[in-house]
């Protein structure tokens, strides 16, 4: 019997990766006039992966990775004003209006009537808090947690800290490795709702869907699935 539904936020409740994709396109335009010693997307991804342990997930680490990528690909020839353009693009990305995904505005209030709703999101603390506040959804969520990473231990700690019984818990998210697999490993069901873009780091191919994994196309299908499970 599910009583607590936890949601990822970025790309599950509101658009996020599309903004990163757009900012990355702008980054490529900034670099267009330069002769580069490598591929932008590949070098940026490599830099981001190398920086994850130090700078973590989120917009600020993304900015620093773009700057380092620009310096490296131009052999240090990148101009100061072009680096300023990169920072400005992120500042604009961070302050954009939050666009909820289709079905979220109707489904979340509906579910909040019957379930305890929880939000589990990773990224920069201040940025995530700001997005939550601007989303208008915070009133429906009794528990909101911003974490630096999502793995089995982190979910276990969040369950313990909030006194949640794993047998009554279900997680919903767009990332199989972050939102679904660690929760399945704890014995709870996970509902995967893909987003139109998936950051390579959050992509995983499964030979076969494991038990407890449900796949939906839209959050609007969630109430019916919950009726079936419960």
């Amino acid at each position: 019997m599910i009583e607590v539904i936890a949601f990822d936020a970025d790309d599950t409740l509101w658009h996020s990766e599309s903004l990163y994709v757009m900012t990355q396109e702008g980054f490529k335009e900034v670099l267009a006039p330069y002769e580069l010693n490598g591929d932008i997307d590949a070098k940026l991804y490599e830099t981001e992966m190398g920086n994850l342990k130090t700078f973590g997930y989120g917009a600020k680490g993304f900015t620093l990775s773009m700057i380092e990528t620009a310096i490296e690909l131009t052999d240090g020839r990148i101009q100061g004003r072009d680096i300023q353009k990169i920072i400005n693009a992120v500042r604009e990305m961070i302050s954009r209006d939050i666009k909820l995904l289709d079905g979220v505005a109707e489904t979340i209030p509906l579910l909040a009537r019957d379930y305890t709703l929880m939000m589990i999101t990773k990224g920069d603390l201040l940025d995530q808090e700001s997005k939550i506040a601007r989303s208008g959804l915070d009133e429906y969520f009794q528990i909101i947690e911003v974490v630096s990473t999502k793995n089995k231990d982190v979910y276990q700690k969040l369950l313990d800290r909030n006194g949640i019984d794993i047998a009554r818990f279900l997680m919903v998210g767009n990332s199989v490795p972050s939102d679904i697999l660690p929760v399945l490993a704890l014995g709870a069901p996970g509902v995967h709702i893909p987003y139109q873009y998936t950051w390579s780091h959050e992509h995983v191919e499964l030979d076969q869907d494991p038990q407890g994994l449900y796949r939906l196309q839209n959050i609007g299908q969630l109430p019916e699935l919950l009726n079936q499970i419960n």
Copy 2:
């Protein structure tokens, strides 16, 4: 009767601002060969203040503020390799060993026997978590909270979330505006222990010490103060 003692972390339990001061000195060395159109310290502080709302407290926002300051003070003439030096200096700062302040290693285990210890720290989530883990102190703290800012509402939420009675709560920290005044406003005592450096933003002059404010020179004096209060 105090039962829960909350501690700020940076510059209260371990050295932090001294690393920022050192990194800022290195930043000035990077800019030394350039003709600048303003004062480094003043422009950096102005940039940091302007960025607080977007990038928040912590090392990553500090890095972005240094980069923007360098671009502005050099009218965009800063070289890519010099910007890389700024990022590398922060990367080194983040990964340094944690140096506990005098008296912390003895006092915290002692207090943990008789009190519930809580840590309330602000900054970049991943960076703060990493410092907590590397400090070796986490086993003594039953509650650890990383927040994006510290004001009366934030403290109230932390008390509510952890079921703490304000009448049994005391806060210890090096920043009067962040660690002491908001807690006094809630009616709990605050113990100020100054650090050798105070970031301008965390400095405040008080005409007169308000009721409930205690001042110590060293954390080693805390057990005796608690005996007097309780």
